[in-house]
Point group: C2
């Protein structure tokens, strides 16, 4: 009975011959065991439609994962955030850019992985809010405190919370803050400012939206003004428009924030060529590079999902012409790492760098599939640079995650929402749906737990189920442990 | 400048005092280090709206995670599948049942975690299909071969592929197969049958839908008939209706499949009381327990999402009366583990058990929020039993994952799809949207990568990015390694 099965298929994968079977196809992954500090290469060897062809590894990974676990003592920390980069957004980008069996060289290469909760809390009640915004979620990892939506590193009662960037600086480290958004936007802002309402970019908005934070009322000032006070060694992003505003109080009252920056010793640059020419950044001359008045453009031209879009011919993403005018996230990240690593404080004490790929979220809100994919590709390139540095440096913790989940879903066919069809790197069609808003411009954040990944000392603290606030303590303790072990006597 | 921040908040979390800060609030998690074989308890200590209150761990987890890594040599393997249980479905259940800072005692307790791809392949072209069905995805982990949607453990050319249950049995192990669905449904079927079309439950459908598999045509027979050939020691689920069909060919031609089961030595039971009374299951007298003609009922009465449902008052899930008539998934899983562990083959050589919580998927298709949540709770209870056994046994690999992602998303407010509002264990409201179909009964599978988690020997092979087919090789090699190490000489 059942002779066909017993003789053919079972015979081909018989339990008593695991060694022979395990040895096949290992060639593509030989590099895995070559380093004491493993990254993972988990591309399918292919072809994916035959037995064993879709495997992402062919040798037992127990020792690879065990070797990736290092005690939490980190000279440097690089935190890379994909805004709105849920598991769905990662999968969409992988399918499109690399194929379903492919492998994102940065995002997918971190060996240690987990799931992360990211709820915020209601300002009045303190009860969980299951669909948080980027200000509350950023505050969580930046300060270890959950807060209300729109809050920037203040708790739900408005009390400022020390940020991991500020603590790193206090420990003697060099610090950096990089984003593809306006530098005053929630994710970069949570590291450098404390305001009650995220829209308080400059003095004008602050006077009306966060009067208690306004300088003229004895507050800490707008996000842009607090950026100058926090004084990271390196700041790259968009958002120069706010620096044209004029301070309303304090030592630089009546001057623009750009003038103030220069008078306070910042090297203030606004174009791609100037970025390339910068050779140092430190507390005497910190670098503030703002490459657009608002958010930086994204890599791909829009492909906005439409009603009935699943039935359209499959598209492929096209270049966005304005993208060439600004530095890529990888260029900003590479420059930031270079400057921080050679900064005297960075060399001696280490550095903290936050990098954000901001427009995964923004393009997901806009149901713009290609915009979202191109920005995830930027994220991937930035992560790869961070990993390349960390692999060489050996004392750098890299954490890669997101602030909240988002709308886009891979579906089989038409939905009542807005759909787009693309032809992927596999040569197959993928349909993506955006269905959380009646307007294609207003898609909502969603509440699914997020993927979190780590590499380097302390990275095992991302494995299993963690909360966003745990990241703060992992980073803080890792840096503190390094400092105790390297205290000058 | 910025004196408020510097003196208060930074002072409270100063980098130079990590030990004191780390020591606070550790009480809730003291058990974590008490065992050589750690599970994790990652509930927030609370309150979640104050600094450090939402942390899921308060001691560095490096050694906990390192201690969880064991070489891949597994006497027993328990694979627990939540059908359609993407990260979103897990989060929805956690928020509702335990609160956002809470912790699912089974699903969330596994220490090693990763992300898993789950695409299928097109039958004609072999190209990836990004939104697979449960038959193709089950075939992937059951056989290590990606196949087309609807295929049950045959490759895309129709060739039968040995299943991990069949290989385990061949190695001398006891075997079990448990599901809350019809036992012929895709996920349980992939372990015990090879048919070209998943609907070939019994002889009638097989003659028309899979004629090449029909007994009268020299094939392996319907899924139900192949179940009797594969002869697992323990089979629990629904699907007795197909066993009233009559065989069309072979030794039992003209008899019902139920008669055939009894004549072939199966103990065939169909009610909850009989389940409780079973005390042994083995190859002489395997147990076949089918507790409903079709799928088993779910725990909670339906709460079906509606147009405009976000604006309705928050509901709470109510018991489903028919649920009391059938065994719970935990009862079936507990009985299966008990029977397999004391089976002579199980005692000496080990066992393989697959458990499926089937109706997360089915209720997600139906936009039934409470149905989905109650079934995820059943899944959680079953996982906890598996972990309890494995923790005591020490030679058992437990893998917990899903077959594909699904529709439900946690949102802030009204969507153009179907929404439902519930009051969670936090006492807060959660809105869940179902937006992949114009009919609330026809929601689609989605393509996001999935959470995968492991405990015990070999579990490190789930960390990082893996594919569903990797699970087959991890389980196969783990059992083979055990066998080599324990071969009688």
């Amino acid at each position: 009975m059942s002779s066909k099965v017993r003789n053919l298929a079972i015979g081909a994968a018989v339990l008593s011959l695991p060694v022979a079977l395990v040895a096949t196809g290992a060639g593509a992954h030989d590099e895995r065991r070559s380093s004491a500090s493993p990254l993972i290469n988990r591309a399918a060897a292919g072809p994916v439609d035959v037995h064993a062809g879709a495997r992402r590894f062919t040798r037992d990974q127990t020792s690879v994962i065990a070797d990736a676990i290092k005690p939490n003592s980190a000279k440097n920390v690089i935190l890379v955030i994909g805004d709105g980069m849920g598991d769905s957004e990662i999968t969409i980008a992988r399918n499109y850019l690399e194929g379903a069996g492919g492998f994102l060289k940065g995002i997918d290469a971190l060996p240690l992985t987990g799931q992360m909760t990211h709820y915020s809390v209601n300002r009045e009640t303190g009860l969980p809010d299951y669909t948080p915004d980027s200000a509350a979620t950023g505050t969580a990892w930046a300060t270890g405190t959950k807060t209300y939506d729109n809050a920037v590193s203040v708790d739900r009662h408005g009390t400022p919370q020390a940020t991991i960037l500020q603590l790193a600086k206090k420990s003697g480290r060099a610090t950096g803050n990089v984003s593809t958004s306006e530098i005053q936007d929630a994710t970069p802002a949570v590291e450098i400012a404390h305001v009650s309402q995220r829209r308080c970019y400059g003095p004008v908005a602050t006077s009306t939206s966060c009067p208690e934070n306004a300088l003229e009322n004895g507050g800490l000032g707008s996000i842009s003004e607090q950026l100058l006070d926090t004084r990271p060694d390196v700041t790259f992003g968009g958002g120069s428009a706010s620096f044209a505003e004029v301070a309303k109080a304090g030592e630089w009252s009546g001057k623009t924030l750009a003038q103030q920056a220069v008078e306070r010793g910042f090297e203030y640059v606004t174009d791609k060529a100037a970025l390339a020419s910068i050779t140092s950044a430190n507390q005497t001359k910190p670098v503030l590079g703002l490459f657009a008045p608002g958010n930086l453009p994204v890599r791909f031209a829009p492909l906005v999902a439409t009603k009935g879009g699943a039935a359209l011919p499959a598209a492929q993403c096209q270049p966005e012409p304005t993208f060439a005018q600004v530095p890529t996230l990888a260029e900003m990240t590479g420059k930031a790492i270079e400057l921080l690593a050679k900064n005297p404080a960075g060399r001696k004490k280490g550095f903290f760098l936050q990098v954000e790929s901001a427009s995964i979220d923004k393009k997901d809100h806009a149901a713009d599939l290609c915009g979202q994919i191109g920005e995830t590709q930027q994220m991937d390139e930035a992560v790869k640079l961070a990993l390349d540095f960390a692999k060489k440096d050996k004392n750098t913790l890299v954490i890669v995650t997101a602030d909240h989940a988002h709308t886009s879903q891979i579906v089989d066919g038409a939905t009542p929402g807005f759909d787009a069809r693309v032809r992927t790197a596999d040569g197959a069609d993928m349909v993506v749906s955006y269905g959380t808003s009646a307007s294609p411009g207003g898609m909502q954040h969603t509440g699914s737990q997020l993927r979190v990944a780590g590499y380097g000392p302390g990275a095992a603290n991302v494995v299993g189920l963690i909360d966003q606030t745990d990241l703060f303590f992992t980073m803080r303790d890792g840096m503190a442990n390094w400092d105790r072990a390297h205290r000058s006597r």
